[in-house]
């Protein structure tokens, strides 16, 4: 295992993408993730990859579509409003089944909003802002190490599922530093590898026209389009089983169960310690995959639990999935801040006690 290094989240994520074999990066600067394009502009060309600063986020996602269609492993990143601009492209990538790894280092919204951490892109990344029937697997790391591990794995998953894979971090995770162990470099795919492993990729006709590949999202015949979408959804149903991930603790005897992802899960863990010191038993469900959402995790909650609390940096978006998971078995409440404000662990613990007192 390689040595621990102290890295800023954004730089560690960029390095993990390179080591994961992502040879192409297209991006446009936006706070709080501008260190990623900066890092890529410095490192990727040295390592045999391609960095391109696009003229806009639309340029970046469409360059990703092109490079991905040609079989390249692509990594792109942005922050909330920039990811919003990319949504059309995400819909196209899903329809054309082109793998791309995307990272949203999210901030407060709506609109241009602010630059401090937010989770109000939950709907955007799990429901999507593009048109049509499609799904994007989304993973939400809660530490820099977990982010590095997920980004390293993402190009493999994207290729396997022939679909974009989204990572959702937030400004705090992008800006903070933690010791991290970086994985080994996975070799960049060469043309011959791509030709062998991705028969669907646009690699030219070669020796004969038997290898003719078409990457498209236009399907003018309704029955053709319906059959295509049904095929995509058969894939998504498999992904729902294969890609669902979560972590839980203390569910067996909790008075209150928190549901939180990303950095909020970390401060919620500290809130749980504070509550324990006050004699309140609290548990945690931490979704790692936001789509597919770990609904099954809620079946592990003890019958004696009094309330399930969704803790979010938004006005309450994940809470809709929490309610589906709870399925009427427990009251569901929300603890939240928004606009770029992150509550302290103490604030979460106090609000949880207030909620418990009312039940």
């Amino acid at each position: 295992m390689s040595e621990k290094v102290l890295m800023k989240g954004n730089e560690a994520f960029a390095e993990a993408a390179i080591r994961g074999g992502c040879r192409f990066y297209f991006g446009y600067p936006i706070t709080p993730q501008s260190e990623i394009p900066e890092y890529m502009s410095r490192e990727l060309p040295k390592r045999g990859g391609t960095f391109l600063q696009a003229e806009s986020e639309l340029g970046a996602i469409n360059a990703a579509y092109g490079a991905g269609a040609a079989g390249g492993n692509v990594f792109i990143s942005s922050s909330s409003p920039g990811i919003a601009l990319m949504q059309e492209g995400v819909s196209f990538l899903c329809s054309a089944e082109v793998p791309v790894v995307m990272l949203n280092v999210s901030r407060g919204g709506p609109g241009i909003g602010g630059i401090q951490p937010g989770q109000a892109d939950y709907y955007q990344v799990t429901r999507g802002g593009g048109n049509g029937d499609y799904r994007v697997p989304v993973f939400a790391p809660s530490s820099i190490q977990e982010g590095v591990d997920l980004i390293y794995e993402a190009p493999v998953l994207a290729d396997e599922w022939r679909n974009p894979i989204m990572l959702l971090a937030d400004g705090m995770l992008g800006q903070m530093m933690e010791p991290v162990v970086l994985p080994e470099q996975r070799p960049f795919a060469e043309s011959a590898d791509i030709r062998a492993k991705k028969p669907w990729a646009l690699k030219g006709y070669g020796d004969s026209d038997k290898n003719k590949a078409v990457v498209k999202s236009l399907r003018m015949q309704p029955d053709d389009l319906e059959a295509h979408v049904e095929k995509l959804f058969a894939k998504y149903r498999e992904a729902e089983k294969a890609l669902v991930r979560w972590e839980s603790e203390g569910l067996e005897d909790a008075d209150v169960v928190f549901v939180a992802f990303g950095t909020v899960a970390r401060l919620t863990k500290e809130a749980i310690e504070i509550l324990a010191s006050q004699g309140v038993k609290a548990g945690l469900i931490r979704p790692i995959s936001l789509w597919p959402f770990p609904y099954q995790a809620f079946d592990e909650i003890s019958p004696k639990t009094k309330v399930v609390i969704s803790t979010e940096l938004s006005m309450g978006q994940m809470i809709e999935d929490v309610k589906v998971g709870v399925n009427g078995r427990y009251p569901v409440e929300l603890i939240h801040r928004t606009g770029g404000i992150v509550p302290t662990s103490l604030e979460v613990a106090e609000k949880a006690r207030e909620i418990l007192a009312k039940i």
């Binding site: 102290l6 709080p32 630059i115 401090q116 705090m172 903070m176 530093m177 010791p179 970390r266």
Partner: protein
Amino acid sequence: MSTHKLFFAGSGGQGILLMGQMITYAAMLEDKSATFLPSYGPEMRGGTANCTVVVSDKPVSCPLIYEADAVVAMNLPSLLKFESRVKPGDAMLLNTSILDQRPTRTDINVCEVAVNEIAMELGNIRTANMVMLGAVVRTTGVVSQESIEKVMHKIFTGKKAELIGLNTKAFEYWKK
């Protein structure tokens, strides 16, 4: 098992973030768990800067703090804004070279450090933050002095290596 929560505040250019990063780096060298969380914003040199460092023997769950074992205030706005953040009985370290005011609280330990004067006495005013770093490490025991010295050799490399002597001298001011 111990956890240290430190908070550094001042104006951009005072070396606030470097102090926090060096402690985080030193903690990693000691095989501890550590997080460094900077404030980030549109500010540049002369604006406000602060950072939070958490160091623990167990994995750090929360990089964000509501109270600190030590708060470093390098200028007046930092003293006024973050005095309330010191845990009762714990320390507030003040840059008295530019601070005339003192904390109003009586339940905290105040450590007065004339960083500029000390740094000038040692030969370079730009090592003022290392003087303060030395005071923080000595006051809190968050990491060992030896670990910080190792960090100096890791981060001041190439052309910057000539700064090691000067910075080490400033950091070690408190050894005597």
